[in-house]
């Protein structure tokens, strides 16, 4: 009992400095949970309810290969064979690496797609999402890697359009450093507090004092003394 009382007092003294840290950690976890508690699809977003590519997608009719030119509306005629809707080099420069294919392309696509967030899902990487948006992003990732774009270029391409939101792991620069450093700082702080407490406990033991007995005030408590005498300590 005396030991229990001593431990209780000691625990309360150890807890006091750590209480702030634990409370802060709990608040951070709660905040993260609340921030992620967004709906899978925001109201009014129809992407998931769209017909699948197999049901609804349809190739452009063959006659669409040559349209009437109309400079007033930007309409132009295009040959179907060399049709490319975008020139990615305009946006992220030319490919900085060699083209890749086969198993290497698939594994690198999968690895990179696992690092990017599906914009219409709840914390899912595009590699794991069946949504049309995510499938298009995986396809674009594969296409860019196949043409020799490096992983950094591909990530830059998506960040340029979606912002850093698209990265599942925040970059280690600027304000994002807080996300990486805060847990380490918390651990170091906790370790420092525990070390300090252990040191004072050892010091008290060396000087002959009972480290389990809190200082001072228990001597004034007759009930505690009575309990101690009854349990024979």
């Amino acid at each position: 009992m005396r030991r229990a009382a001593g431990l209780g007092a000691r625990a309360s003294r150890i807890e006091s400095p750590l209480r702030g840290v634990l409370l802060a950690a709990a608040l951070a976890v709660l905040a993260t949970a609340l921030a992620q508690a967004q709906p899978v699809e925001p109201p009014g977003v129809p992407v998931e309810t769209a017909p699948s590519a197999g049901e609804g997608a349809r190739d452009r009719p063959a006659e669409a290969a040559g349209g009437d030119a109309d400079s007033g509306t930007g309409r132009v005629s295009r040959a179907q064979d060399d049709f490319a809707p975008l020139d990615e080099a305009e946006l992220v420069g030319p490919p900085a690496g060699p083209p890749i294919a086969g198993e290497e392309l698939e594994s690198r696509t999968r690895a990179l797609a696992s690092r990017m967030r599906c914009p219409v899902c709840q914390g899912l990487p595009i590699a794991d999402s069946p949504s049309a948006s995510a499938l298009a992003m995986v396809s674009q990732t594969r296409d860019l890697l196949a043409r020799g774009y490096t992983e950094k270029q591909v990530l830059d391409y998506f960040v340029r359009a979606y912002g850093e939101f698209v990265l599942l792991e925040p970059t280690t620069k600027g304000f994002n450093l807080v996300v990486w450093l805060l847990p380490v700082a918390g651990l170091l702080l906790g370790a420092a507090l525990i070390a300090r407490r252990l040191r004072s406990t050892r010091r008290a033991a060396r000087s002959g004092a009972d480290p389990s007995r809190p200082d001072g005030d228990d001597d004034l408590d007759p009930y505690l003394e009575r309990v101690r005498s009854e349990i024979g300590s």
């Binding site: 003294r13 400095p17 702030g20 609804g56 349209g67 930007g74 979606y162 918390g186």
Partner: protein, 173 residues
């Protein structure tokens, strides 16, 4: 009762920055993804429509463009459609109104949609989704207001309302 200063100091060092961090974080709507493209050149693209034509976006430079990503199955797109029909009529000759429909959309569905609700501009088919990705589209409808020099000056994610549309168009001209 003795006041231990250490826990107060530790709590303040850890707690105050955390509370500020959370306060700033909760002011941000997680459903809103800020577009990093604002103030930057709109990505150029070439897309086809379902009628046999194509558009070269770069050729539209010199006149403001309202670029609207929509879909035939999208209810918010239905809600904003009359506003776009009206605006396209009012700003004809001054502003290009360009629509882009996603991979899954079909010629029949787009034709039914515009026959029923009216047509405000051509609808180009983003067959492989690359143009939507280049613009960071995540929520239909999305509308980009592109100045005559090709710079994106405003973006609206979700259905347009009359006031936003009018203000954005006036800012373009």
């Amino acid at each position: 009762m003795a006041i231990h200063r250490t826990p107060l100091v530790v709590g303040a060092i850890v707690g105050i920055p955390l509370i500020v961090f959370l306060a700033l974080g909760f002011r941000h709507d997680p459903n809103v993804i800020e577009s990093p493209l604002l103030g930057k050149p709109a990505p150029s693209f070439v897309l086809r429509d379902f009628d046999g034509g194509a558009v070269d976006f770069a050729s539209l430079r010199g006149q403001p463009v309202v670029l609207n990503f929509w879909a035939s199955w999208c209810q918010p797109c239905v809600a904003e459609h009359p506003l776009l029909v009206e605006a396209a009529r009012r700003y004809a000759g001054e502003v290009h109104f360009i629509g882009v429909v996603p991979t899954e959309d079909t010629a029949d569905a787009v034709e039914r949609f515009t026959r029923h609700l009216g047509k405000w501009g051509p609808a180009y088919h983003d067959a492989d989704g690359k143009v939507s990705i280049a613009y960071g589209v995540f929520k239909l409808p999305e509308t980009y207001f592109v100045a005559s020099d090709g710079t994106i000056v405003h973006k609206v994610a979700g259905p347009l309302d009359r006031r936003t549309l009018e203000q954005s168009l006036e800012a373009l001209l």
